[in-house]
């Protein structure tokens, strides 16, 4: 895989992989590697400064902060991965299907995806956990559902671009079935785009997961999470103002590593996608600038066009980047439809 080899050569990628490897080890074995019991309280040693016995000090119940941080890794990372997984499973197949299976499905999928994009997802997650019970899986199901439109749009935009390519047209003329075209010509070309999106989506959902655990959603109290540790530090800022530093840095470094990896993937594969959370990353290179601007301009025109369909492609447009694909997404849907269904 030349892409992987090229990526490994970048220093940022090596650093990011190192960070993620440490995080992965902690996620699997953090609890057992921790020097002390993460939930053992010690009333005699509350709110202590870092020392030989407690490298990062203790919290308001005398629990060792380092141990809690290590034990929390698994819960926080698995939560984010679960949200991305749910989003991918719901979004990506729907995106492929919206191009391939008839207009009714496409219309329905676009409406649902528009609807989900308007949901303020933290409030939705609170609502879901309030109703079906407060647990990490319930919360992540909700977040995954709200993340799904991003994967849906990006998959759909990539598929639309491919569906009008000449080799697909030839395959249709020769009489290939839809499934065969999907498997042979489309799937393996859409996959890299999905991978890049998933990488930056993981960063975004890690931020959401930490926000939720900060609010106390998706966790049961004694078990530590990165966000939950910050929330308990909040009441003791006068005593230990530097306490939030350690959990914050852990979150920031992990998110930055995921972002760096996504950026490197994007640059080496030449795929231009928007982040599901954040569209249009500013980069130094000129070509990236123009690609982003033109996609943004199309997004603008799409919104001005006013119809719901066009508005829905606004996000696609910021997400896709290449002018050709975007235009296909906004204007030639019916044409694609006709060609595909004529097979």
């Amino acid at each position: 895989m030349s892409v992987l080899r090229r990526m490994i050569r970048l220093r940022s990628v090596r650093l990011a992989l190192l960070v993620l490897a440490v995080v992965a080890v902690l996620a699997v074995a953090g609890g057992s590697l921790a020097p002390q019991d993460p939930i053992a309280q010690d009333p005699k040693a509350i709110l202590q400064n870092p020392s030989g016995a407690h490298w990062l000090g203790t919290d308001y119940l005398g629990r060792d902060v380092l141990s809690r941080l290590m034990d929390a890794t698994g819960r926080s990372v698995v939560g984010a991965a679960e949200a991305v997984g749910v989003g991918l499973l719901l979004g990506a197949p729907a995106g492929l299907a919206s191009v391939v299976f008839g207009r009714a499905f496409e219309w329905l999928a676009l409406r649902i995806s528009d609807a989900l994009l308007t949901l303020p997802y933290i409030i939705f997650a609170i609502a879901v956990t309030g109703i079906i019970g407060n647990g990490i899986h319930q919360a992540m199901l909700a977040i995954g559902l709200v993340l799904a439109p991003n994967y849906f749009r990006i998959t759909r935009a990539a598929t639309l671009g491919l569906a009008s390519s000449q080799y697909v047209e030839i395959a249709e003329l020769v009489g290939a079935s839809r499934w065969w075209i999907l498997r042979t010509h489309i799937w393996n070309k859409v996959l890299p785009t999905i991978v890049v999106t998933a990488a930056s989506g993981a960063a975004a959902s890690l931020l959401v997961v930490s926000s939720l655990s900060f609010l106390g959603i998706g966790t049961k109290p004694p078990a530590p999470t990165w966000g939950g540790m910050l929330s308990s530090d909040l009441n003791y800022l006068a005593q230990r103002p530097w306490a939030p530093l350690a959990p914050s840095l852990v979150i920031i470094i992990t998110v930055a590593a995921l972002n760096a990896l996504a950026d490197a993937l994007r640059d080496t594969t030449g795929i231009v996608t928007g982040d599901p959370g954040r569209s249009g990353r500013a980069r130094g290179s000129d070509s990236a600038d123009t690609a982003e601007t033109s996609s943004a301009a199309t997004a603008n025109s799409a919104v001005t066009a006013g119809s719901a369909v066009a508005t829905s492609s606004a996000a696609t447009a910021t997400a896709t980047g290449s002018v050709e694909t975007t235009t296909a997404a906004t204007s030639s849907i019916p044409r694609q439809k006709r060609e595909v269904s004529d097979v």
């Binding site: 933290i122 609170i126 609502a127 956990t129 079906i132 009008s164 103002p241 930055a256 972002n259």
Partner: protein, 358 residues
Amino acid sequence: MTTLDVVGSGGRGQPQPSRPSRPSRLPRGAGLLRRWRPSGLSGLARGLGQLLAVGVPVTLLATFITYGMTALTDSNPAATVLGDLATPQDIERMNHQFGLDRPFLVQYVSWLGNALTGDLGYSYFTTLPVRDSVAQALPVDLSITLVAAVVAILVGGVTGIAAALNNGGRLDRAVTAVCAVASTIPPFVVGIGLIILFAVTVPVLPSGGYVPISEDPGRWLKFVILPGVALSVEFGAELTRQIRTSLVGTLRENFVTGATVRGLSVRRVVFGHALRNAVGPALTVVGLYVPRLIGGAVVAEAVFNLPGLGQQALQAAERGDIPVIQGVLVTSIALVLVCNVAVNVALVRLRPAAERRS
């Protein structure tokens, strides 16, 4: 109908359908060259159309999902409210009072009908109208979101324009780097950092609490400024990046070169010509960002201990107070939709002069 027909006839007052049929025979790339707009519709009408097209499905979907989940779980609010001493008769009476003994769909439809008329039902636990408690909490979120939006637009706009004018220079690179870092910091960490700086280390501002603006505007601002700024960081970074990127692109366009060649001042070229075109994509981003801003407000509320919608939702979620949960969810969706309409109206207004004439 060819592309030319679509564009040419639109502006001459011919009756147009309110939902335009999708252009079916546009050549590839036509979407970029000729933007198909339904003329004869004011921005507001179009905004309202969009409100219906997006608002109806999202409201139905979100409320149905949450309502459907209540039906799937074996939660029993009547038993929770009445406590351990309740007899089965009591629970049955309570269920009847809550309307929970009706079939699921009947419950849902009647709730939806009431919600449309502004009646969000009553809390299971406090028996207060949900509408009143939402109306009490909403100004808190509106305040911090408004402060955040103002700060983000002012700071993001200025730095974004400065970075674009300095394309590739030291300032540009610094702004880009700061934005990249800002987007990796969780919003509540920014809030905690601000508390440490301005409430603990240099105690000039309160670390939490709220006073309504009608009571004391000065104190209101003191309570709202930190949460607002904390909320604005991520949004501001996003806005800066978007304005920078689209302005850099616009400045390379022919019409900008033309204006410069005609001898117009730099200020006039940038602010009169380029910015008007460049601001559209940034506004689109603002529109897509609104749901995250409202979610962020919930987190900021928790950091700064503000009595807002999020705190209500969290408390209601703890007790399973479903009417309150639904009320907050519907209110936040309504807020997002209103903001989206406002953004779309602004987009139509901002459309470059050359396009407006057609």
